[in-house]
């Protein structure tokens, strides 16, 4: 640390310290403790909030249920069946791959790393 830094630090300390005319009146610990106790949320504060949250959650879930039940009639029976069929076909194709990926016995990460290494090696050879 340079002499200039030390000078700056001393100047900062001097400027920031609390002056005699800035010292606050003494806080009353008893009053603070009492205020902390009264300001703490009580059961009577929490119950209405919890009830309102529960009611809001129930209303939203019911709205979702009604909306999802209305989807076939809104989209039309044919479009809905088409979407379900497409989803089923995709699931049939993807299910084996998902099973393979989830299998702990197959070191897929190691195989992928080996494939990438081979590809990179071939690229360097050609270059």
């Amino acid at each position: 640390m340079t002499g200039q830094d030390q000078l700056e630090e001393a100047r900062l300390r001097r400027a920031l310290r609390l002056e005699a005319d800035e010292v606050p009146p003494r806080l009353d610990a008893v009053l603070i403790a009492a205020a902390a106790r009264t300001a703490r949320p009580t059961g009577s504060d929490v119950v209405p909030v919890a009830a309102a949250a529960f009611a809001a959650g129930w209303i939203v879930s019911e709205m979702w249920r009604a909306a999802l039940a209305a989807v076939p009639s809104v989209l039309g029976e044919g479009a809905f069946r088409l979407a379900i069929d497409a989803f089923t076909e995709a699931a049939i194709v993807l299910a084996p791959a998902a099973t393979l990926a989830a299998s702990a016995a197959l070191p897929l990460t190691a195989a992928a790393a080996a494939l990438i290494a081979i590809a990179l090696g071939q690229r360097r050879t050609h270059a």
Partner: protein
């Protein structure tokens, strides 16, 4: 009656020297530091006093969850810093500007002061103004270092950053302050 019961509570806190203190002692020993930190952060006496009260209320509520084997001061300062940051943002939103820098100065009258004291007072005001204008990221470590006198490691503990990061922030803060103070007339 209820107040008397509260007063009789001895809330234990571990000090670095493993000294156990009551809540009342804790308030008495640290209120000036918490208030001063808030005053330098916010620049307003009323806001600083409010923050100080809220900090000690939070401390009171959390005493039973606090690990008594650890020193109380960093914990207290962490609460104070977080509270100051929140209060500062509210103040800034209310006023539509970043910080009440002008209020932070609280320019003392020069009349009646000896020349040397007047110069010192003016320098204090300039430095405080420059610190108040620092971005929050730099103002917090500067105040913890030069107002509270914490080491880099202690500031790191309070702010949740590494000591090396705090060191860099202090370097940048000093460079910013130097620029501001040199640019000022």
């Amino acid at each position: 009656m209820a107040l008397a019961r509260v007063a009789s509570l001895a809330l234990p806190f571990a000090e670095p020297r493993a000294r156990r203190v009551t809540f009342a002692e804790l308030v008495g020993e640290h209120q000036n530091e918490v208030y001063g930190l808030a005053l330098r952060m916010l620049g307003e006496r009323d806001a600083a006093m409010d923050v100080t009260s809220v900090v000690f209320m939070k401390v009171f509520r959390a005493f039973d969850r606090y690990d008594q084997a650890r020193p109380v001061r960093p914990w207290l300062l962490r609460i104070a810093v977080n509270e100051c940051i929140s209060a500062g943002r509210v103040l800034a939103r209310e006023r539509g500007r970043r910080l009440p820098v002008d209020a932070a100065l609280e320019l003392p009258g020069r009349e009646g002061l000896p020349e040397e004291e007047a110069v010192r007072s003016e320098d204090r005001v300039r430095v405080r103004s420059a610190v108040a204008a620092l971005p929050e990221l730099y103002r917090v470590p500067v105040l913890l270092r030069y107002f509270s006198g914490l080491s880099l490691e202690e500031i790191a503990g309070v702010t949740g950053r590494s000591a090396s990061t705090v060191g860099v922030q202090l370097l940048r803060a000093r460079a910013l302050l130097r620029g501001t103070l040199e640019a000022a007339p």
